[in-house]
């Protein structure tokens, strides 16, 4: 499986679809069930793409992040990521739904705090949490 296949697969959701999904999730259990359902849909990175150099620093779980410029003209980015933790996988979909296909400028303009707040997932973004979500967002923003 080439990494490009993975990139194609990863872009299933967009931001508003994610918002709808979470709006319908009931309570913390519903929300976490939803996160883990999403996580199951994250295409696995082939082992050869799980290199240490692609590990995101500052995550307690392992998170590998790849990206490519999707289209030379618009310079939108495509991301592929994987993790060994289920909740992180789900949250990766949440993040990529917001960032995928966007340009560096669009990524930096995007109000990720507002987005996570609307999903009621804001605490996951805290730099003082060791789950690494903050680190993933940072890594994407620093690309």
């Amino acid at each position: 499986m080439s990494i490009y296949t993975t990139f194609d697969q990863a872009i299933t959701y967009n931001e508003s679809e994610i918002k709808t999904l979470f709006a319908n999730a009931k309570g913390w259990e519903g929300k976490y069930r939803q996160i883990m359902l999403l996580g199951k849909q994250l295409p696995a990175l082939a082992d050869e793409y799980k290199q240490d150099t692609h590990l995101v620093k500052g995550c307690e779980s392992q998170v590998w992040l790849h990206f490519q410029i999707q289209d030379e003209k618009n310079r939108g980015y495509q991301f592929a990521a994987d993790s060994d933790a289920r909740i992180v996988k789900g949250l990766v979909i949440v993040i990529l739904a917001a960032f995928n296909h966007k340009t560096a400028q669009q990524i930096s303009d995007f109000d990720i705090e507002g987005y996570f707040a609307e999903l009621d997932l804001l605490k996951h973004l805290s730099p003082s949490r060791s789950n690494g979500i903050h680190a993933i967002v940072q890594a994407i923003r620093e690309i």
């Binding site: 309570g27 913390w28 259990e29 976490y32 069930r33 883990m36 307690e60 779980s61 392992q62 060994d84 933790a85 289920r86 909740i87 992180v88 060791s130 789950n131």
Partner: protein
């Protein structure tokens, strides 16, 4: 303390426990291995110090500095008696276990160890009892040999015996494992080390809050622990050492208080314990720690520990009945600390889902990466009980973990 009323009594001294966390769940604090909560008397001791007695110690000759110095030195005596040290001057204040070990490694280690000398640690050591020796090894060429762990989570005594044949200069070992709770047969380990001619250092960070420690009975050369893990403040810890060893050791850090005379032509050093206490100490920290020890001294500590072990057994026994749970801990000789995994699941997911239910546990490598690699895992979920945990905490944990199993299932 098997009397649940006494525990509820103790619980009321720890006001932090009575709070609502995530999703309106009450706090269930089972992360005592990371740090313990502080009883009211400890918080009050700190507050009172700053409101009434705050002054720098030893240096002043006025009313306040006299009060502060008295309280500070009295705290040293409290620690002395708590671990039954022969003399208060053998109690050196440090920032915590980590600094205590770094002091021994930098001062005693640099003076006494040479290239090729062997140090024995164990595979279950906390990074605090590994990295200082590795830094020393990088400087001096000493050789570190880890004592192996057996499948039943205890040290391999045969392996220890064979390593002792290398005539190690130092055996530095934890009293209790912070990750898997094992209580090491420390007296035996020390005796054997002594027969082999080794100096001994015991990392008491996890032991000290669970049972009485008598350094003279153990006959170890150094014993170290942290205040914050025994109901005391952060930023204070203890190094106990045998007097002859401490006397011979060179100072480590330089500054005020640790000197006798300073001139640009040459400087001479103060006596014990001040020789190792450069700079203004954590005065309020020492006083808070003494308050914590005095608090513990009110109780029958054996009973308190029985109570912790009872809770531990309750959870342990329930866990071993769950097909999907793997426990990393032995039921016996355990200080009420337990690591576990849900098979096929990431420890972080478990921690997150427990946190959603107000359960505070620790997930990860617990600063014991070599141990994790021996166990063949990247990390675990760790439960660690303390004197204020009650049956309701244990039960809340089990119900929460059942929910986690269901969500992940």
């Amino acid at each position: 303390m098997s009397n649940p009323n006494s525990i509820e009594h103790i619980r009321q001294d720890f006001v932090i426990l009575d709070q609502i966390t995530t999703n309106d769940c009450p706090l269930v604090y089972l992360d005592n291995g990371a740090t313990t909560q502080k009883p009211r008397v400890v918080i009050d001791a700190i507050t009172d110090f700053y409101r009434q007695n705050n002054a720098n110690v030893h240096r002043g000759a006025h009313y306040l500095s006299d009060k502060a110095t008295k309280a500070f030195e009295q705290s040293r005596t409290t620690v002395q008696h708590f671990i039954n040290a022969p003399h208060a001057k053998q109690i050196i204040w440090t920032k915590g276990t980590t600094e205590s070990i770094n002091l021994v490694a930098a001062s005693w280690g640099q003076q006494n160890l040479n290239k090729g000398d062997v140090i024995l640690l164990s595979e279950m050591e906390h990074h605090a009892n590994i990295v200082p020796w590795q830094l020393l090894a990088a400087k001096t060429g000493v050789v570190i040999e880890p004592i192996r762990l057996k499948a039943n989570f205890t040290l391999d005594m045969d392996h220890y015996r064979s390593l002792l044949k290398l005539a190690p200069k130092l055996v530095a070992i934890t009293h209790v494992s912070n990750a898997i709770g094992t209580v090491n047969p420390i007296k035996t380990l020390i005796n054997m080390a002594k027969e082999a001619g080794a100096v001994t250092m015991v990392d008491g960070a996890q032991a000290i809050s669970h049972f009485a420690v008598d350094v003279q009975q153990l006959d170890c050369d150094f014993y170290v622990f942290s205040g914050h893990k025994i109901f005391g403040p952060t930023g204070i810890g203890v190094l106990y050492g045998k007097e002859a060893l401490l006397q011979d050791m060179p100072p480590w850090q330089g500054g005020g208080e640790m000197i006798d005379k300073v001139s640009f032509d040459g400087t001479t050093f103060n006596d014990l314990p001040y020789k190792f206490e450069a700079g203004t100490p954590n005065i309020a920290g020492a006083i808070g720690l003494a308050a914590a020890l005095n608090y513990l001294n009110q109780y029958d500590r054996k009973q308190l520990h029985q109570h912790e072990v009872q809770l531990f057994h309750h959870v342990f026994d329930w866990m071993t009945r769950q097909p999907n749970i793997r426990v990393y801990a032995s039921r016996d000789n355990n200080a009420a600390i337990l690591s576990f995994a849900i098979i096929g699941e990431h420890h972080q997911d478990i921690g997150t889902l427990l946190d959603q239910q107000g359960i505070a546990v620790r997930t990860g490598h617990h600063c014991t990466m070599p141990l994790m690699s021996v166990l063949g895992v990247a990390g675990t979920v760790r439960l660690s009980f303390s004197i204020y945990n009650n049956q309701a905490d244990a039960q809340a944990f089990i119900i929460a973990l059942e929910k986690v199993l269901e969500l992940l299932g």
